[in-house]
């Protein structure tokens, strides 16, 4: 029973996505037109994705890097807890 229900839900999501993919590209917003027309003149980089990520929305990317750095520090503090404690015992 569970399997049949999950299969039907998956088929429904698949149909929704297949019908929605065509309609995504038809809408054109002002921001999209501005980026595609002015990216080479304003930023000078030929790759539009890179121009958006590192130039038009660079503060957004800065936030992403900060989140990644915070995750790194958390992983380091949790995984190397024992070695840090041993160092403290040796030094102090």
């Amino acid at each position: 029973m569970k399997k049949t229900i999950s299969v039907f839900v998956a088929i429904g999501f698949f149909l929704i996505i297949v019908t929605a993919v065509g309609s995504f590209s038809e809408k054109k917003t002002d921001v999209q037109e501005y980026y595609t027309k002015n990216s080479i003149e304003k930023t000078g980089s030929a790759n539009i994705v890179n121009a958006i990520v590192w130039d038009f929305r660079s503060y957004d990317t800065l936030g992403e890097e900060t989140v990644l750095f915070t995750a790194i520090i958390a992983v380091f503090l949790i995984a190397h807890k024992k070695s840090i404690a041993e160092k403290k015992e040796v030094s102090g």
């Binding site: 030929a46 590192w54 190397h80």
Partner: protein, 140 residues
């Protein structure tokens, strides 16, 4: 692991690192960028750690402690902040497009982002693999 896998790893790791630097430094012209380049650089270290045993890895990486990589990541993040806030509005229109030196300050931003991502993923991989080495049940 076998001798075949070790020899192949010795040959492949420099090429993978060169490809990672290419993807991150050439990201403003061809597809790529800082994030995939950094992850490719970290995957070279992942291949190294999987192929060799604990002693062989510790022999080469004992000087470079993992805490130093954390400091490198923080310095690169500081570089990103300085470039984006202070330097970027001044040299925005300097270069011609489709050459290597184009895109203003984007090439340095790609490099610093790749350094942050690569050092962070190396820390995560090394922590996980070291836990695996400590447990005696492991087959690595």
């Amino acid at each position: 692991m076998d001798a075949i896998i070790k020899t192949t790893t010795r040959l492949l790791v420099p090429l993978i690192m060169v490809f990672g630097f290419y993807v991150s430094l050439h990201g403003h012209i061809s597809p790529g960028g800082g994030f995939p380049g950094g992850v490719i650089l970290a995957s070279a270290f992942l291949l190294l750690v999987i192929a060799f045993t604990e002693k062989e890895v510790e022999k080469h990486f004992s000087e470079i402690k993992i805490g130093d990589l954390k400091s490198v990541a923080s310095i690169a993040l500081l570089g990103i902040v300085l470039l984006e806030v202070i330097v970027r509005p001044d040299i925005l229109h300097l270069q011609t497009p489709l050459t290597l030196w184009s895109g203003g300050v984007t090439i340095f931003l790609n490099l610093f982002g790749a350094i942050v991502v690569a050092s962070g993923l190396v820390i995560i991989v090394y922590s996980l693999v070291k836990e695996e080495w400590k447990s005696k049940k492991s087959k690595w």
